[in-house]
Amino acid sequence: MLVRLKTRTFRRAAIFAVGFSISATILDPVDVRADGSLDSIKVLQKLTSGDDSTQAASKAITQLSKASDVTLIQSLTAMKGATPVGRNWLSGLANSLYRKSGKSQTAELTKFMEDASQDGEARYLVFQWLTTNNALLRKELLAKMNQDSSPELRFLAIDEAMKVKLENKDLSVLLDAARHPSQVVSIIEKLKELGVTIDQSKQLGFLPDWRLIGPFDNVGTVNFDKAFQVETDWARGATKDEYQGKTEAVTWKPHTTAAPDGVVDLAELYNKEKGCIIYAAAEFDSEKDQDAEIRLGCINGNKIWVNGKLVISNEVYHTGTQIDQYAEPIRLKAGKNQILVKVCQNEQKEQWAQDYKFQVRICDATGKAILTEGR
């Protein structure tokens, strides 16, 4: 009997060990002791999109909601390394578990929230639980978080810090910490009130220097996907000085925007031309090979290529714009990187549909500016 029991225990342990090692890269450091729950959490962590994935997750969360061996901390810990969709499922599970037992786990939750190695979204969730109806605690915690690894917690902390009057030195610290453009702009405005001028365009990493060519034809809004010769020539690194435009020959024109938000106003530069396309080329000199993001704000149809690769494409006209409206990861190579922006205007006549402009910046994944060499 004893042998039999031990064998069973060994088998379970072995199965658990195998299962754990298979999933260790995703699950670590979750310690879920029941195989069923372990499998269910794995399903939630890996979720992407589509019907099969959703149905599998629906079954998994039903299993987890019935399991007695899944703890709140485990569900939060599992968010680390999970897919974005998976994190939302795990957040749903965590919220339910918090209602059942969370209020008796303040110490564990505080420890989790203060552990910067845990998933930022999970820590933000816990921060809210801990500070709802406790303004004093909220203030105390945020006072230490303006350099937090979680962009959301950092954003809250800077918002909180900005509620009081600050001196130059404090504002400079916040400016260094801030990543969201709205906060960067607010801090720069406050510094300006104190007599300190900051180059906002440089602080955010906007590209000010462009070469523009156009207009090319987009009457009927039909040429978003048409590769004009200038586009194909640029892709092979051999552009000419002059091309046939919409109505006449057009040439490259250098343009440097002085706008603090990096906006290049094509409507102003091209006499409010409608039904047209302008190309804008820029060069970015990177000090090293590095990961980065290219971020675009544009109220018109747009495409961006970096070093010949299409990275952004949106056939959308006049439905709002803002800094960082579109963001995509790119790989910068050491030295010169070539950027081409295609901006398409349609022919809408409404007063609110006349803007024709774009703004591009280069930054790291957190939003901190990466500047071209020499700037």
Partner: protein, 415 residues
């Protein structure tokens, strides 16, 4: 043997208890105001009596007010004793909240929270939490401008979640989306119309599977799908756009009929008295008794137009709001009867509701105009101030009105 019988009795009682509990739950879970504009999208609180005067400095007839995280321009639904609404908060309004409030005392019963995986951007006056949630009395479906959709049970436990922008990456509109979902025959229907991935879809209420998907015109559209009961008793989903008006079978997505029609893209359609009222060319009425290729047109009247609010019917009249003008027409002939300007009203985005022949409409500065509806005139009998912006449509349940302000939820009832 005795033990087995005991087990049998126990399991029988257990089963009986479970049945009673299930029935009881279904009965108590009856959705009083289950989706945008309430039962049948009628916007009318049947047999409800609401105070005409409320709010102000005296907080007259305010049963409770509960502050909620973030902001919302959507509405509120009532399911049993829960008033349920959504919020969006945090950086770029990426935090998505679904909140149930006890209708009796305003305490928060449960909350769920997610992070937007689609585009969270919108006009500064709007919010990611713009669509009104929906319920089938068993589930609650929370939908957001970012095209994230979550289904929870009535205790707030997650049943399923989908990021429709992960499935369809070009779905979205950076002015903000606002079409509210509806649920019918076990299918949650969403209408996501924009210049990118533009579609309507029916999702299985139980597990979120996309049962059907219809390509839609690639134009921005903020109107909501509507449940319409045809005269043969069949319930269908009606959707409108700047190009068409169509009815689909909820389980299959089969198009039952389709008309080319330039409909408004903000206010939504609804059916009453065997007619379908569509904000198009002002207001256009269709006869639901004529099916086949689609209902035939009865009348239209460009003086009964709606810029944002959805129209409604009370008695023999149809009512519309354009900017700040409330207009009344005969629902049979379409002839205009009267119109009245809501003096000093600012922008009105919140679709009105009616209780006991009084129409309640909020302007976006939080003032509620109470209009006594008559055949000859509409008389403003009270103007009430909440002191908080209101852009979502209220819910009426029992003798109470639930109002979703931008940052809080209010219950208004006679004290």
């Amino acid at each position: 043997m005795r033990l087995n019988m005991h087990k049998f009795y126990k399991s029988s009682w257990f089963a009986f208890g479970l049945t009673v509990a299930t029935l009881s739950q279904q009965m108590t879970a009856k959705a009083d105001w289950p989706m945008f504009r309430g039962p049948n999208a009628g916007s009318v609180g049947i047999d409800s009596k609401l105070p005409t005067k409320f709010g102000g400095e005296a907080k007259e007839n305010i049963a409770w007010r509960t502050e909620l995280p973030g902001r919302s321009v959507g509405g509120v639904i009532v399911v049993g004793d829960q008033a349920i609404t959504t919020s969006s908060s945090g950086m770029d309004q990426r935090r998505l909240h679904l909140i149930s409030v006890n209708s009796k005392d305003g305490t928060i019963r449960w909350q769920q929270e997610f992070v937007a995986r689609g585009r969270p951007f919108c006009h500064p006056t709007s919010a990611n939490a713009a669509p009104t949630p929906a319920s089938d009395g068993k589930h609650v479906f929370a939908f957001y401008s970012s095209n994230d959709i979550a289904c929870v049970d009535l205790e707030g436990n997650l049943v399923w979640y989908r990021s429709l922008s992960t499935d369809f990456p070009k779905a979205g509109n950076d002015v903000g989306m606002s079409s509210s979902p509806v649920v019918l025959d076990g299918v949650c229907v969403v209408q996501i119309e924009c210049q990118g991935d533009s579609f309507a879809a029916g999702l299985n209420a139980e597990d979120g599977k996309v049962l059907w998907k219809l390509d839609r015109p690639k134009q921005a559209n903020w109107s909501s799908p509507t449940i319409v009961k045809m005269l043969d008793g069949q319930q269908v989903i009606v959707m409108q756009s700047s190009e068409d008006l169509l009815a689909v079978e909820p389980k299959s997505g089969k198009i039952l009929w389709k008309k080319e029609l330039r409909c408004s893209t903000i206010p939504s359609s609804f059916a009453a008295e065997g007619k379908l009222f569509v904000p198009a060319g002002g207001l256009t009425a269709f006869d639901l008794s004529s099916v086949g290729t689609g209902p035939s047109k009865l009348w239209d009247n460009n003086k009964l137009s709606s810029n944002a609010c959805s129209p409604l019917v009370v008695g023999k009249n149809v009512y519309t709001i354009s900017r700040t003008v409330l207009a009344c027409g005969d629902l049979f002939s379409g002839e205009s009867k009267w119109q009245t300007r809501l003096a000093d009203a600012k922008s009105i985005w919140s679709s009105p509701v009616v209780a006991a022949n009084n129409l309640y409409v909020f302007s976006d500065d939080g003032r509620c105009f109470v209009v006594e509806l008559g055949d000859k005139e509409g008389k403003v009998v009270a103007t009430n101030e909440l002191g908080e912006a209101v852009l979502g449509s209220p819910a009426v349940s029992g003798n109470a009105m639930y109002v979703r302000g931008v940052s809080s939820l209010w219950k208004i009832a006679e004290k």
